[in-house]
Each structure stands twice: as C-alpha cells, then as structure tokens.
Amino acid sequence: MAPRQAEGRNLNATAANGQPNELDQYLVAKILATQDAAAFGELVRRHQSRVRVFLLRLCRNAALADDLAQDCFLHAWEKLGSYRGTGSFAGWLMRIAWTTFLQSKRSRDRYRAVLDDVAHSGAVPEQTEAVDEVTDLDRLLAVLTRDERAVMILSYACGLSHSEISDATDLPVGTVKSIIHRGKLRIRERFEIKDHQHG
C-alpha cells in the first residue's frame, strides 16, 4: 500500500460529518496517508456485519464465514490503494468479499476432490463439511445458481443498490437487474410448486 496514493484525496475532516460513503472515503484517505490501523478498525466496525452476513449466506457456516471475513478485510487492507473513490466503498469491499469466497470455494473444491479420490480408494472415511442449520431461506437460495445467489443476497440481505452490486460482482447493471428478475421468477416458480405440493 502506497501512502502517496492518498495525495489529491480530500483529507478534510469535515467529511467525517457527511454521508456514509464520504466517511468511508475520509477513513480510506486517512489510512493511506498514515497507515493508521485504528482508522482501519473503524472501517471494519462499520462494514463487518454486512460482509459477514453476505459470506454467511453464501457458505452457510458461521466459523468459515468469519474466517473468510477476516481474510476479506486483510485483503482490503492490502489493496486499499486501489480504491479510486469513484464508486461506493461498500461495493468495492463486497467485491473483495465475493472474490475471497470464490477463491476459498475453489480451493475447498480441490481439497474435496482429493478427499473423494482417497475415499474411493478406501483409505479414509468420507468427510463432510460442517454446515449450520438449514433455514427456509437456504432452501430458497439453493434453487439459484451461485452468481444469482450472490446478487440476491447483496440486494436483499446487504441492501446494496444495483450499481453497488455491479461494482461488487463485476457484472453490468443491466445484467444485475435481469439476474434479480430471473431469481425472483425462479423463487416464485419453486414456491408455487411447493405450495401446490402441500395443498
């Protein structure tokens, strides 16, 4: 992280009294200028709930979600210099959370594939990942694809705007809107089927 990248950013303390994103930008500028870990702690406090909810909904395991959230904030600390201040800080941060989740999932999938190979050879018993209690919402999200799930969670659980979701997932705003529309349709279809089945 290069402190000089903070040059040109508004370090005016009055920003701290403005909009949430202005406060975020003020804190980012302060951290970049002074490597202030306490200011970063304030940023973490402001966004930890949203990031943890997002990761918890994605991986359905509280311990894993917390580990990933910590990794996400550490990546954010390392990459803070790349935040240009053009979009919202929440969108930028959720993009890191999403990338962290995808990387972790990829490595867990590889690990599971190795375990499966070993299990098929009869060397060790099969291991399953600990998952927290399955809720109605989890069942509902299960009918969606991974990307749809992320977009729906960012929209409905994290309260991000379409443009913030676009920043977070690197998808065009139009695609985000169509994913939300499609996700709603799929959920509706599923619920209607379920309601019908249960009379």
Partner: protein, 115 residues
Amino acid sequence: MKSKIINMAEHRMDDEDLRLHDMFRNDPIPDNGFSERVVRRVRRRLWMRRLLVPVATAAGGLVAVGPASQLLSWLLAQLGSLAAAPALISLNIESLAPGMLLLASILIAVRLIEE
C-alpha cells in the same frame, strides 16, 4: 436528476420484493471483538513488514558481500588496464555474468519485498 429517477425506480418495491426483504431480513451481526481481531492481524503484518525489509537486506548483504567485492575488484582491475592500455580491453563475460545475475536477483528481491 436522471440518477434520482433511476434510484426511485430501483427502490420502488413490489409485493414480491417486500416478501424477499422479509425473508432475507436479519439482525446486524454484533462485532463481538471481530474488528479487534482484524486490527491485531493488520498490526502484526505491519510489524512483520517493518522487520522483514531490514532483515532481508542484511541477509542479502551478507550473501552478496563476497561476490560483490570480487566484482568490484575485477571492475577496478579492468579500469586499471583500460587506463594502461585501451586496446587490450577484453570483457570476460564468464566472470561478469554471475555478478550481473546476482545484482539483478537482489534488485528483483528488493522489489518483491517492497510489494
């Protein structure tokens, strides 16, 4: 003005949106020392980085001091012979190459550590 209209359209919710919002609604997760843990890890990283650069420089310096002094003495000898007889200069690539490689690897290592 345009963005205001877009935002209004974005926030206009139908029954299904409200139902989904209800389903997704969750209480904020309490911090419970989470941010402290993150800040502690960040501080540890800062300290590691502050220590790593001088330690790596010292270790690299210890390794490089022998070859570097040989390279320097060779360069001085070449300069001496250049001054004595310019026509007799012959670049000994075989002895120059390891020194240049060492120098390049030190520069790359310093760059990597800085990043």
